[in-house]
């Protein structure tokens, strides 16, 4: 598998660390309630199609990335810097 890092260009999967679903970008407030936090940390749609997820280019530039990838075909649709999403 190869991911196109927006900074470094296309790189082998071995340079990246995988975190999980990109819902981790949407951290609830401290008083959002148990259900919101359960959603954030545990519950997943886990669909078999396109998934927004978080990768880190650990062995490259160090950027955290939001990757949209089809988890049934492994086709990568888009890659954006995580920091651009919240800005």
């Amino acid at each position: 598998m190869r991911l196109h890092c927006p900074i470094c260009g296309e790189r082998d999967r071995r340079e990246f660390y995988y975190q999980g679903a990109a819902v981790m970008l949407e951290r609830p407030g401290p008083d959002a309630g148990a259900a919101a936090w359960d959603d954030y940390l545990h519950l997943r749609d886990n669909t078999a199609g396109d998934l927004d997820e978080l990768w880190s280019h650990d062995a490259g530039c160090g950027a955290w990335l939001r990757v949209t990838r089809n988890v049934s075909t492994h086709e990568i649709k888009t890659v954006v810097l995580a920091r651009e999403i919240k800005r």
Binding site: I7, C8, G9, R14, A59, G60, C61, A63
Partner: protein, 179 residues
């Protein structure tokens, strides 16, 4: 009382040649990571202070003795001179002079040697002089920069100097054996 004695990561290893390639430990001088703060325009002050361009991602500027090597997301490495203190206004400066093992690998089959260790297309058409990359050398996170037609600057953590030497020598021997 005795003064503190400095030791290089490879303990001043003399250059080693295997086949047509040569491996040598090099002294890059002071190393400073420069990470510009949000919105800081560092290009002009950097150029003014050190006489070379602030490198774009995946590029290195300057020349032997004074280089600026892109070193990752929002960070470049000034190699050679100590940084102009005024740059601290624009960027976080961190001394890294002792944190890295730096070697130069050269020879006409240097690309073949690196093809055994680095998961990048380093052919000269793709990776020209002045190109740099953060990637891996075998299992080590590394900085790889082409500093000549057949010469590369390779950097890994200081503590991994022994493993770097082991991995490079092995790849050099393998390429040499192919004749």
């Amino acid at each position: 009382m005795a003064e503190l004695m400095a030791k290089t990561p490879l303990d001043d290893m003399p250059p080693r040649g295997i086949g047509s390639c040569t491996l040598e430990e090099i002294d890059l001088g002071a190393l400073t990571s420069i990470s510009p703060y949000a919105g800081a325009q560092i290009d002009a002050p950097f150029k003014a202070a050190h006489g070379m361009a602030w490198p774009a991602p995946n590029r290195a500027t300057g020349k032997a003795g004074a280089r600026a090597i892109w070193f990752g997301r929002d960070v470049s490495l000034l190699a050679g001179p100590k940084p102009d203190p005024k740059l601290a206004e624009y960027a976080a400066l961190t001394d890294q002079s002792d944190a890295w093992t730096a070697v130069a690998l050269s020879g006409d089959r240097v690309e073949d040697v690196l093809a055994r260790l680095v998961p990048l297309d380093l052919s000269v058409a793709q990776f020209k002089r002045g190109h740099t990359a953060r990637s891996q050398i075998q299992h080590m996170n590394a900085s790889v920069t082409r500093i000549g037609t057949d010469r590369f600057l390779l950097m890994v953590f200081r503590s991994m100097a022994g493993t770097l030497l082991h991995d490079l020598e092995r790849a050099m021997a393998s390429v040499a054996s192919r004749g």
